[in-house]
Amino acid sequence: MADLNNLLGDIHSDEEDAPLATLQHQADDDNDRERLDLPPALAEAARKQYQTATPEKESEEGEEEDGIEEDPDYAQLKRLWKQEMNTPELMTHDTETIGLFLELLEGQEETIDKLPSRMDSNLAPLLQSIYKMDADRVRFMLTDMTRARLDKLEAHPLYMREMVDRMSEQEIDYLKEYGQLTERHLRRTVLDHLPKDAWKKLDEPEMIDTPNLDQFVFCKVLETVEIDNHDAQGNDDDDDEDGIQEHKAGSCLIARYSAIRDLVLKGKIEMLL
């Protein structure tokens, strides 16, 4: 029994050592480069290589979590993405961060292609795939977020007309065009066949549906806040308390979105996936 356990242990440690061994071997071959320390994560290896190599590349690949200045942007992008995915209503468009990453993505392909000429050919494919993964991640977040926003616009187009201050220029144009497209279609199929104008309207107040602001969401409290738990009808059958609850920073909650809406918009509560 004891032997079997040891045997398995040997097998595992053998597997771990093998990739490290090859890296060491490659590093030994470059006499003119600084020797790589060898932590397990490949990203660490790339970072050390990058930092000892050309420093002027810093401006181009900002998304890796190595440069001190770029990390907060990446974190911001991630936060924007999480928020957009988890809130029923449209979030404010962060033109700065999104613009930054769109630009970075454009420059990325060039950077990736130029890598082999700048460094040792053994490591270049490795770094290329790392940078590519990073670019893919950023692209995924941007695409997913954009899709979520467009889906929200399309789900409640009439309601979204009032939330224009949260959209970018292109989104406003998109909403207009989409609205026209839908209206044209509905006119063609239904409304034009109705007898009188009074029935042809699409935007009477009762007809506009709003996103469900009462849905429950997972969230995390960033600063200590007070949440008023009363809803419009005061339906608080479970709680006999006042309804105003205080929550300390760092606690995670499931809450009705309408109760925490203001705090989310002020940035005191963030969404969790």
Binding site: F140, R147, Q170, P195
Partner: protein, 210 residues
């Protein structure tokens, strides 16, 4: 007995107000995805609306205010018209939403030929313009909104070819790959993702199954 007969018929017709609207929506609800566009039923509902309207017209003769007794009937017809309108609008909008979703995920379940059998001409026009709208929006941002549907896990994936209709493709890295039925290839994820979604390729996990 003829007034009785008339009353009987009238009663039957009365009981059917609003039935067609309901049937239309039930058809939508009961199908797996979308039933073919039921243009006939929509036309019938529109006819029902004009019948209601005719009734209304008949009661508002001239410019005099209709008598109190007539008010409830007027209200009934107005509400019936609004209800039918609502059913029709709901039907069309639900169909549009389902169709849009299909377009947005890159025709995952049905290709455009199959969609053509299910949609009306007006819906096809809508979809064409909608697709253009979305693609232009993505292009302005330099993002392909139909790619990257799942978070990226690996750079390259191993795939097995499931149909024999694919032939040779050129990957983003420039190499040409001949996709014959049953062969397994190691390809960049982005080339392969749309094909996997359409069911033409199958992702092979690293684990061997017997």
């Amino acid at each position: 007995s003829s007034p009785l007969l008339l009353l009987f018929l009238f009663h039957i017709i009365m009981a059917m107000y609003g039935q067609k609207g309901r049937d239309l929506l039930l058809e939508l609800k009961r199908s797996d995805w979308l039933p073919p566009y039921n243009g006939e039923l929509c036309t019938e509902i529109l006819e029902e609306i004009s019948l209601h309207f005719d009734e209304l017209q008949a009661q508002i003769s001239g410019n005099q205010k209709p008598p109190m007794e007539a008010r409830s009937s007027l209200l009934l017809h107005d509400m019936a018209i609004r209800r039918n309108k609502r059913c029709l609008l709901a039907y069309h909008v639900s169909r549009l939403t389902a169709l849009q979703k299909e377009v947005n995920t890159g025709y995952e379940h049905f290709n455009s030929a199959q969609l053509a059998t299910v949609t009306a001409e007006s819906e096809q026009d809508f979809l064409q313009q909608y697709e253009k709208l979305r693609t232009n929006f993505g292009a302005a941002l330099n993002l392909d909104l139909r790619a990257s549907l799942y978070p990226p896990e690996q750079d390259f994936v191993q795939v097995r070819v499931l149909t024999s209709t694919l032939g040779t493709i050129v990957t983003t890295s420039g190499s040409a790959v001949n996709l014959q039925l049953g062969t397994i290839h190691y390809l960049p994820r982005e080339d392969v993702e749309p094909l996997i979604r359409q069911g033409l390729l199958e992702q092979v996990d690293g684990e061997e199954e017997g």
